[in-house]
């Protein structure tokens, strides 16, 4: 009986300590990690590139994926929006909230590794799983998408380094995926 009371007391004391420690942490508390730029100016072009290249509805434009990409070419955040960028067809451009959702998903995949990469000024992007997958260094169902040094790679790595190369991120400049011009002889 004494042993039973001892355990009950220990459990109660433990619960009180837990409650006290939990209640002392504010609900909006954050830990200090280094993160890449999140403004629409600096992350926006990266978000647009990711939406165009990786965010189709059958790839990362899906809420079932670990890396979730939101934008007008794929998955939309608002229930009233559709996967369409053109206003003439009832769509609208990617919203600031969608850029933020993509940013949070991407940075939140490996926050401590992301912090390490950012604090190293983007020198070791391969530490991040999403970069390794895109570069084909790790199994990726979507295949090899970027080559170190190509515009798509520069888009990502410049952002990780804290200075987004907007030109490299522009879909019209890199035109990926680039489908060859139709040739009647191949049909």
């Amino acid at each position: 009986m004494n042993r039973r009371w001892f355990f009950a007391g220990a459990v109660m004391a433990g619960s009180m300590v837990n409650a006290a420690s939990c209640s002392s942490v504010p609900s909006n508390a954050t830990i200090g990690i280094d993160a890449p730029p999140d403004s629409v100016t600096e992350f926006g072009p990266v978000g647009d590139y990711l939406d165009h290249r990786c965010g189709t509805l059958d790839c990362h434009g899906s809420s079932t994926r670990n890396l979730q990409i939101w934008g007008c070419e794929g998955m939309r955040l608002a229930s009233t929006d559709i996967p369409e960028c053109s206003r003439a067809l009832g769509g609208k451009a990617t919203t600031p909230e969608e850029y933020e959702a993509t940013y949070r998903s991407l940075v939140g995949l490996e926050p401590t590794v992301m912090s390490e990469v950012v604090s190293g000024h983007g020198q070791d992007p391969d530490l991040l799983t999403f970069v390794r997958k895109a570069r084909g260094l790790e199994a990726h169902k979507g295949g090899v998408l970027i080559t170190p040094g190509d515009p798509q790679d520069v888009c990502i790595t410049s952002w990780l380094a804290g200075q987004t190369n907007v030109t490299a991120c522009t879909p019209n400049a890199i035109s990926y995926p680039q489908f060859p011009v139709p040739d009647a002889s191949t049909e």
Binding site: T56, L57, D58, R76, S79, I82, G143, F179, T186
Partner: protein
């Protein structure tokens, strides 16, 4: 010894079952009464769920789907040309049947993703605005109604007024 072999065989069998795939197949429901299994069945469903190699269908497709005449309407686009181009520039053109269905047998043509598509019927034509990253089922993304995660069904005319007089 025989019992052990039976247990091993059972384990191997169970290990081959893909519960997620089974659930996806079950979610499609049964056949529509009066429509036999075949090229005209299940318009608008993600064909490769069953025809993608995991069964239960015996015919395997690389790309397949359904094209409708008018956006958000159920009438099929019969005889529409579906032109598919893969990232290597390889083309394949399929024609929709009486149900609006088309399919590409995997031993006929297998694209390297991503792909882009265009559907046309007479003077009407629609180019897919984005590309398909890896899914050969049109209805994997193109579900009805249109919403935040679906562009709606595949169509050739934006509205009935776009159709030639007398329809298609």
């Amino acid at each position: 010894m025989t019992a052990r072999l039976l247990v091993l065989a059972a384990c191997l069998l169970v290990g081959c079952v893909d519960a997620t795939h089974d659930e996806q197949v079950q979610a499609l429901g049964g056949e529509t009464p009066g429509v036999p299994r075949g090229p005209l069945h299940r318009p608008g469903q993600p064909c490769l769920t069953c025809h993608g190699g995991l069964g239960p269908a015996s015919h395997q497709f690389s790309v397949a789907g359904t094209v409708y005449a008018v956006r958000s309407q159920s009438a099929p686009a019969v005889g529409a040309q579906v032109q598919i181009e893969d990232i290597n520039g390889s083309f394949y053109t399929a024609t929709t049947n009486a149900a609006g269905n088309f399919y590409v047998p995997i031993d006929t043509w297998q694209p390297t993703f991503p792909t882009q598509m265009q559907v046309s019927l007479g003077s009407l034509s629609q180019q897919m605005a984005t590309h398909a990253g890896r899914n050969g089922s049109c209805a994997g993304c193109h579900t009805s109604p249109q919403g935040p995660t679906s562009p709606g069904s595949v169509y050739v005319a934006l509205s009935a007024s776009d159709l030639p007089e007398g329809g298609l």
